[in-house]
């Protein structure tokens, strides 16, 4: 099989992996013989027709796998497909050719597990060593840690890359074992996350560690994802959790199961944003899901929380803290900062026009705020 055919098979195998380039990369060594400096803002090199940006060469080292993940087309239970693998030199050369032509911003290298996890990691290490040492590449590299890898490999991978990730796939042990029988949730995944955390103390991929979960493949609830997110951020030092709504892949054991709406994935991301950028507590976020422990797909999570805590409102726009403002639907971190700035400068906001100028979404915010003690619209009128 030639390189082009391999690229088609192994590139297509990673399209469901979510990764974004980050500005948090190794500082380039000030050496004129080395290639590649990660651009500070993370440039998108192209956009596929589905609107997602292509900035990294995303490939698998091999698509031959010993595991039986039900949602995956490479699993042992899937329809047989052509198996192949890149030679380390071949992949390294291909990557450099694309990079020097400015088609890509960096590399995202993952793999199926051929033989065992250590074999797969060794192959990846070999490729990266060629790229870093033989081709003098200093730019962005994101590596996938295989479930069950040993501590030594993890240390080396963490040192050589800008970001590492390990796929959690599922928020709980039970749903995980419903989807995969050949991996142990606690030993193969969570313990490896601990290993990565340990490696962090010495030398750590500056882009941090990320993880990805499939949404809804085994009937998991949104509350379970939120609980898991809390543990990942607080206990395991994960930089970011990604979600991918379950989408039945042709040839995989679950290809007859119904897909999960993208809106659910989107709303889980919004709850994540509320924690990371709005400073919400997880205890608050956990109040958002309804009785069935799922987020409503018809109402934005922030608005849902505001409706569940009516005694917080209305918020007086001229006498409130940043935290109070951030809880108002339609007010984001930037507009909250602008309002606080006005308070510092002793400038009173007198009308809706001024609020609009600041960048507040009036339609959403008005039922929850008061300007100079006057509430513009009543909460009851809204519900």
């Amino acid at each position: 099989m030639n390189t082009l055919q391999k690229l088609e098979l192994l590139g297509g195998g990673t399209k469901w992996d979510i990764c974004t380039p980050t500005s948090k990369a190794h500082a380039p060594k000030n050496n004129d013989s080395r290639i590649g400096a990660p651009y500070s803002a993370g440039v998108c090199r192209s956009f596929t027709p589905d609107g997602r940006c292509v900035s990294l060469l995303k490939v698998l080292n091999t698509n031959a796998c010993i595991h039986d993940c039900k949602y995956c087309m490479h699993s042992t239970n899937s329809k047989p497909q052509t198996k192949t693998q890149f030679e380390p030199k071949e992949l390294a050369g291909l990557f450099m050719q694309l990079y020097t032509r400015n088609y890509i911003e960096g590399l995202f290298l993952s793999s199926a597990v051929m033989g065992n996890a250590d074999c797969a990691q060794e192959k990846m290490l070999e490729t990266i060593n060629i790229i870093r040492n033989q081709f003098h590449y200093d730019g962005y590299i994101h590596l996938k840690i295989m479930p069950g890898s040993n501590m030594n490999h993890i240390k080396q991978l963490v040192e050589i890359s800008d970001r590492v990730s390990i796929n959690l796939e599922s928020p709980t042990k039970n749903s995980f074992s419903e989807l995969i029988s050949t991996k142990e949730y606690k030993i193969d995944i969570l313990r490896r996350l601990r290993y990565i955390q340990h490696a962090k103390q010495k030398q750590f991929a500056p882009g941090g560690v990320t993880t990805q979960m499939v949404v809804g493949a085994a009937g998991e609830t949104d509350l379970e994802y939120i609980n898991r997110m809390e543990k990942l951020y607080d206990d395991y030092g994960v930089y970011r959790a990604y979600f991918s709504a379950f989408d039945p892949i042709k040839g995989s054991p679950l290809d007859q199961q119904k897909g999960i709406p993208l809106r659910r994935e989107n709303f889980l991301y919004r709850t994540d944003w509320l924690v990371r950028f709005y400073g919400f507590e997880f205890s608050e976020i956990k109040k958002i899901p309804g009785e069935n422990e799922n987020l409503s797909l018809s109402i934005d999570p922030k608005l849902a929380l505001a409706l569940k805590t009516p005694n917080r409102f209305p918020v007086d726009i001229n006498h409130s803290t940043e935290e109070e403002l951030l809880h108002v639907p339609g007010i984001g971190p930037i507009s909250a900062k602008r309002i606080i700035q006005k308070q510092y400068n002793n400038q009173k906001i007198k009308n809706e026009k001024e609020l609009k100028k600041i960048g507040i979404r009036l339609k959403q915010a008005l039922p929850f705020i008061a300007i100079n003690g006057f509430s513009q619209s009543r909460l009851e009128a809204f519900s």
């Binding site: 082009l4 400096a37 803002a41 956009f47 596929t48 609107g51 071949e90 390294a92 400015n102």
Partner: protein, 202 residues
């Protein structure tokens, strides 16, 4: 391009940043064994100088050449110590510019880098196509973020954009006043809503 620059001037710094950001992202290079990266571009001199600095910083062992197609001007720069040309020169065509530049670089640079894999343009095309996920299609987003004026007309990205714009019908002023749906179809639809079947349905 001139109109575009005017808009940029009007909007100020953030647009300037965005424009140079795009230029860095969508410039594609041809790579020559003499350690020369040659890219065609259509922009303003100050943006090109900015991009040139960026690419020199990114690819220090290479000589970077950007050819500005609207005024047939070649910009050359490198961080190498054995190649100290920092030139802006006018040519009749990009081929002529390459004819002049390649021997010059060849003479100065002796040490080469070999990546061991021969280049084929299909590599990127095939990879680009593999990344598409049908049910995540967000064509408007793609159209918003890709810039036809910066793309090579033969590139896979440009073709996919063109394909997309054919699928989106253009709204014209007349569409607001006159319905494109023939009247009889409308009546049929109303009848169906009320419980009647369209005439041709048996």
């Amino acid at each position: 391009m001139r109109n575009r620059l005017r808009t940029i001037e009007r909007k100020g710094d953030s647009s300037l940043f965005f424009a140079s950001h795009q230029l860095k992202a969508f410039t594609r290079f041809e790579s020559f064994p003499e350690m020369l990266l040659f890219g065609k571009i259509a922009s303003h001199a100050s943006f090109i100088m900015n991009a040139l600095n960026f690419f020199c910083y990114r690819f220090p062992p290479f000589v970077i050449a950007l050819y500005n197609t609207p005024n047939n001007r070649l910009f050359v720069q490198s961080k190498r110590k054995d190649f100290c040309y920092r030139t802006i020169k006018d040519f009749d065509s990009s081929e002529k510019a390459l004819e002049w530049l390649r021997p010059l670089v060849q003479k100065s640079i002796k040490k080469r880098l070999h990546f061991g894999v021969d280049w084929k343009p299909e590599y990127f095309e095939r990879f680009f196509e593999t990344q598409f996920i049908e049910n995540r299609k967000n064509l408007r987003l793609q159209k918003k973020l890709m810039f036809t004026n910066l793309l090579d007309k033969d590139s896979v990205e440009f073709k996919s954009l063109k394909k997309f714009s054919r699928t989106l019908s253009n709204t014209q002023l007349g569409d607001f006043f006159f319905s494109k749906t023939p009247v009889h179809t409308q009546q049929q639809a109303i009848q169906t809503k009320k419980g009647f079947l369209p005439k041709n349905a048996e």
